[in-house]
Structures are given as structure tokens and as C-alpha cells.
């Protein structure tokens, strides 16, 4: 499989997944899926800002959703989950765009008060043949060339009773912040007890903030703690919490390591979409792919993706990489 084929091979299921998730979360679209997992809204936004660069309609519908539901979104958490400058510029541009309709200080970054930067902008949409005649100023401030669009207002609030929207439901109960995320992680994880660090890795807030939230929840008597050595481990009594939410403990949504999986997939897609790779020799393509795989394999494994350790030598590694990329995409199924 050539890299151009791998591009298509990955792009289609990732876009389909993103559409299906957002359709269940209030974007104007239909989905046949009723996922049992709890979505991670900010991690999904970051993922979508990347994969939707191949689907203008998805990008615009998610921006519309952001305007309608911005109160349910943690801007701080969205920024915390950014891992590189590309993430940050896509997030800041999207929040800046939303701020044009919802003027709120929390949506703006320092760059939003500047004039559009000079120099060439990168087209937001990959391989688009449409010339952008009226570029959006919010995106231009962050170096992106995107056609001006307005929110279409078709998005709706998420159905809080759907498992996928569990994070929003907890935010409505506990407020948008570390407390709601810590409870989400504890209620959905299979692990009977977790350290503050483990919870923080999924909660998307600094360990200090998560520790404070856990301490407050513990002192309120709604989570439990045991000390193992000099390490505190936290657990949550499932039945009372499930009863509060009118669920049985078995009906609580499933946990997925979304921040890690989505980051690995973002990095993967960015690499695969980079047309500079098209001109590499078979060996250099495999070598570059191996470097990328070394970077994302720990996160994929953390997210439960099964990957073989054995690797072919030289240019033959490309086949291993295709299998890794396919396994990563299949983790969304």
C-alpha cells in the first residue's frame, strides 16, 4: 500500500467516526451508532480540528456546535490537551471564530487582539481546490486560510442521558472543571483504584488541580481513598453514584483513553497527510514512519491498542507501519 492509499485508508474511517460521535452529541447529522463509552469532548474537538481539515462540512458543523454549546466546553482543558503548536493554533483559531458569535473573554487568546499576521497562511482544508476569496479573520490571526462562514445554528444541546454525553451530564451536576473530570474517570474506569496522577492523565487538568478536586470530593465523603505505601489511591462507590444518575452500576458508560488515542491519531494523520512524504524513497519513508511509530506507540498501547513488537528491517518496515496505522484506526470501531 502506497502512502497515498494509506491516506485514504485512514481518512475515511476517522472522518466517519468523528461524524458519528458529533451526531450523538448535538451536531446536525444522523448516526446509527449508540456508543456505550463516555466521550471526551475536548479531546474529540482537538481530534476533529485535525481530521476535519479533509472535510469542510464537518469542520463547520463542529464550529457551529461549539458556538451553541460553548458553556459545556472547558477552554482551559481544551488548551491543556494541546500538545504542540499545530494543536494550539487550530484551537485558538476555532475559539476565536466562536468568539465572533459569542463574545467571551475566555474564548480569546492573546493573538486574537492582534492584527492578522503578515505572511503566507496555510490553507485549513487539505487539498481543497477552492480558492479562498474572503478569508476568515479569526483563522487568519492564527495563520490559517479558511473561507468566512457564519454559524448555521443547526446544532443542538447534547442529550445528557446518552452514555456518550456522560461528561456533559457530570459537568451540569458538578460544574465544568477538574471535579467533574475526576468523577468521570473514576466512574467509568475499570481500575478499582487510581492514583491522582493516573486520574490526571485522563482528566486533562494539572495533577495539582486534580489532587485538590479529589481531596475536596474525599472530604465530602463521595469518593474513597486508601494509602498504599506513601501513595494515595482513590476509588468511587459506584452504586450510590449510579443511583444518583438513575442508572445501575452496570449501565455506567465505559472509559476510553481518548486524550492518548486521539493525540496518537492526530500525529499519525498529520504525518500521513504530509505530501512531502510522497517523494521519499521506500527506505526513507519506512525510516520516517518508524520514527513516528516510536513516538505514538506508547500512547496507542496506553489506549489499549494491541501492537506487535516484532518489526521488519529497512524498507520492509512500511508493512508493519500500515498494520500499526490500521490497528490505531480500528481502535475507534
Amino acid at each position: 500500500m502506497r502512502i497515498s492509499e494509506l491516506r485514504s485508508h485512514l481518512r475515511a474511517p476517522l472522518l466517519e467516526f468523528a461524524w458519528d460521535q458529533w451526531a450523538q452529541m448535538g451536531v446536525f447529522a444522523t448516526s446509527q451508532r449508540a456508543d456505550r463509552w463516555a466521550a471526551d469532548p475536548e479531546a474529540l474537538l482537538l481530534f476533529t480540528f485535525e481530521v476535519a481539515r479533509a472535510d469542510a462540512r464537518l469542520f463547520d458543523e463542529v464550529l457551529d456546535w461549539l458556538v451553541v454549546n460553548e458553556r459545556l466546553v472547558s477552554v482551559q482543558r481544551l488548551r491543556n490537551l494541546c500538545r504542540d503548536e499545530m494543536d494550539r493554533s487550530l484551537v485558538d483559531a476555532s475559539l476565536g471564530w466562536a468568539a465572533q458569535s459569542r463574545p467571551r473573554a475566555r474564548l480569546l487568546s492573546p493573538a486574537d487582539s492582534n492584527k492578522p499576521r503578515a505572511g503566507a497562511d496555510e490553507p485549513l482544508l487539505r487539498r481543497s481546490r477552492m480558492r479562498v476569496t474572503r478569508p476568515d479573520e479569526a483563522f487568519r490571526r492564527h495563520g490559517w486560510l479558511k473561507a468566512t462562514t457564519k454559524p448555521n445554528g443547526k446544532s443542538s444541546a447534547p442529550n445528557l442521558l446518552a452514555p456518550i454525553n456522560f461528561a456533559f451530564r457530570l459537568r451540569q451536576i458538578l460544574g465544568v472543571g477538574a471535579r467533574a473530570e475526576a468523577v468521570r474517570v473514576l466512574l467509568t474506569s475499570d481500575a478499582p483504584r487510581m492514583t491522582a496522577q493516573e486520574i490526571a492523565e485522563s482528566a486533562g487538568y494539572a495533577k495539582r488541580n486534580v489532587q485538590e478536586a479529589l481531596t475536596a470530593l474525599h472530604s465530602s465523603g463521595v469518593i474513597e481513598t486508601v494509602s498504599v505505601g506513601n501513595e494515595q489511591r482513590f476509588s468511587i462507590p459506584l452504586s450510590p453514584w449510579a443511583a444518583l444518575l438513575s442508572l445501575s452500576a452496570d449501565d455506567l458508560p465505559q472509559h476510553r483513553a481518548w486524550p492518548q488515542l486521539f493525540h496518537a491519531l492526530r500525529v499519525l494523520m498529520r504525518w500521513v497527510e504530509d505530501e512531502q512524504h510522497d517523494s521519499l524513497s521506500d527506505y526513507m519513508l519506512a525510516s520516517e514512519a518508524r520514527t513516528l511509530a516510536d513516538e505514538i506507540t506508547p500512547e496507542l498501547r496506553y489506549a489499549g491498542v494491541h501492537l506487535d513488537s516484532a518489526a521488519r528491517a529497512g524498507a520492509d518496515y512500511w508493512q508493519d507501519f500500515i498494520e500499526l496505522a490500521s490497528a490505531a484506526a480500528a481502535a475507534l470501531a
Binding site: S281, Y283, A311, A313, G314
Partner: protein, 195 residues
């Protein structure tokens, strides 16, 4: 442990090194001696464990290869990773020979192979390999060095010349005696080793 068992395998590794250097915008000329050099020139057919770089060639002049420049190490290590081989597959092990002095005319006799714009490998000639192998045989004992030396089928004159060069590295009487013994072992009884 890496075993380079064929010229094809060696060429694949060096081509990969060339591509890595090219991607990093670097260019090197390596002077290679030892078993891998003999394999490359089709002079022997035994496995070897590494590629010994005796020098880097810079504007036609040999300069020490030890330590390897950082970007050469980076490229070498990526090749090692990509092929699942030890990082020392390419090493400056014999680089000290440059300080002690290579045989006269060494650089003029090398056989060069270009692996693209970023890498040229200069393999020591048969005559110079005879020099180096005789020295190694006396210094380190028989085994692969004897095997290689016999495969090179040196003449008595070539061995004598090699012995005279080896003495410039170690002029001691003890080394001279060991050289004479080695030469007799190789069938040369009347070598002129100079004063």
C-alpha cells in the same frame, strides 16, 4: 550481534546511511578497512561484524574518524535502528592508524564507491589491506586476520613491504622478531625488514 554476510547486505546498509545523511543535509567520505572492505571488493567471502572506518576523507586528505561527528552518529544510529543491528555496526575502531601513519600512497590507491551525493566510501586497496592485515596478525594473533591475509594471496614482495611499514608503527626488537616469525609462517623466509 550483526553479521554482514554479503556484499549486497553491506551495500544496503551504506545506501541507507547515505539516505539518512542526505535527509540531514550532510555529506561524508569514509575510508573503510577490514573485513567489510574486503567483502565490498569481493576479496573475501566471510561474515564480518562491523564496518571499520579508519579515516574521513576531507578535500582528498585523510583525517581522524574518532570520534565520529555528531550527525554521522545520528545517521548511523538511525540505520542501526531501522535494520535492528548494533549501533557500532559502523565504528572508528581503527582510526588510530591515521595518527601512526597509513602506508604511503594509501589514499591514492583506495577504491571508491559513491552512494549518492551524501556518501562516498573509499575502500582500502588490496595492497593496503595486506599491510593492515599483516600488522593485525602480528599484533592480535591469527584467526580471521590470517584467514583474510591468505585469501588476499600476497606475494613475498608485498608481505615484505607490509612488514617494513608495520615496523614504523612498532620499531621494537620484540615486534621485529614476531614479524619475522609471522612472515616465515606465511612462507617468506628472507624478507628485508630494513635496519
Amino acid at each position: 550481534m550483526l553479521d554482514i554476510t554479503s556484499n549486497e547486505q553491506l551495500m544496503r546498509l551504506l545506501a541507507a546511511l547515505s539516505e539518512q545523511l542526505d535527509a540531514a543535509g550532510q555529506r561524508y567520505e569514509l575510508v573503510v578497512v577490514g573485513g567489510s572492505g574486503l567483502i565490498a571488493l569481493g576479496l573475501i567471502n566471510r561474515p564480518t561484524q562491523d564496518v571499520d572506518v579508519v579515516a574521513l576523507l576531507d578535500a582528498g586528505r585523510a583525517r581522524t574518524a574518532d570520534p565520529f561527528p555528531h550527525d554521522l552518529v545520528a545517521a548511523r544510529d538511525r540505520v542501526a535502528r531501522d535494520f535492528g543491528i548494533p549501533e557500532a555496526w559502523l565504528n572508528p575502531g581503527p582510526a588510530g592508524l591515521v595518527d601512526l601513519g597509513l602506508p604511503d600512497g594509501f589514499v591514492d590507491r583506495v577504491e571508491s564507491r559513491s552512494f549518492g551525493p551524501s556518501l562516498t566510501v573509499h575502500f582500502a586497496s588490496r595492497l593496503d589491506q595486506i599491510h593492515l592485515k599483516l600488522y593485525a596478525l602480528v599484533d592480535q594473533g591469527p584467526g580471521k586476520h590470517e584467514q583474510d591475509l591468505r585469501a588476499l594471496a600476497p606475494t613475498a614482495a608485498e608481505l615484505s613491504a607490509a612488514a617494513r611499514w608495520a615496523r614504523t608503527h612498532d620499531p621494537s626488537e620484540g615486534f621485529r622478531q614476531m614479524l619475522e616469525e609471522a612472515l616465515r609462517y606465511l612462507g617468506v623466509d628472507d624478507a628485508d625488514l630494513g635496519a
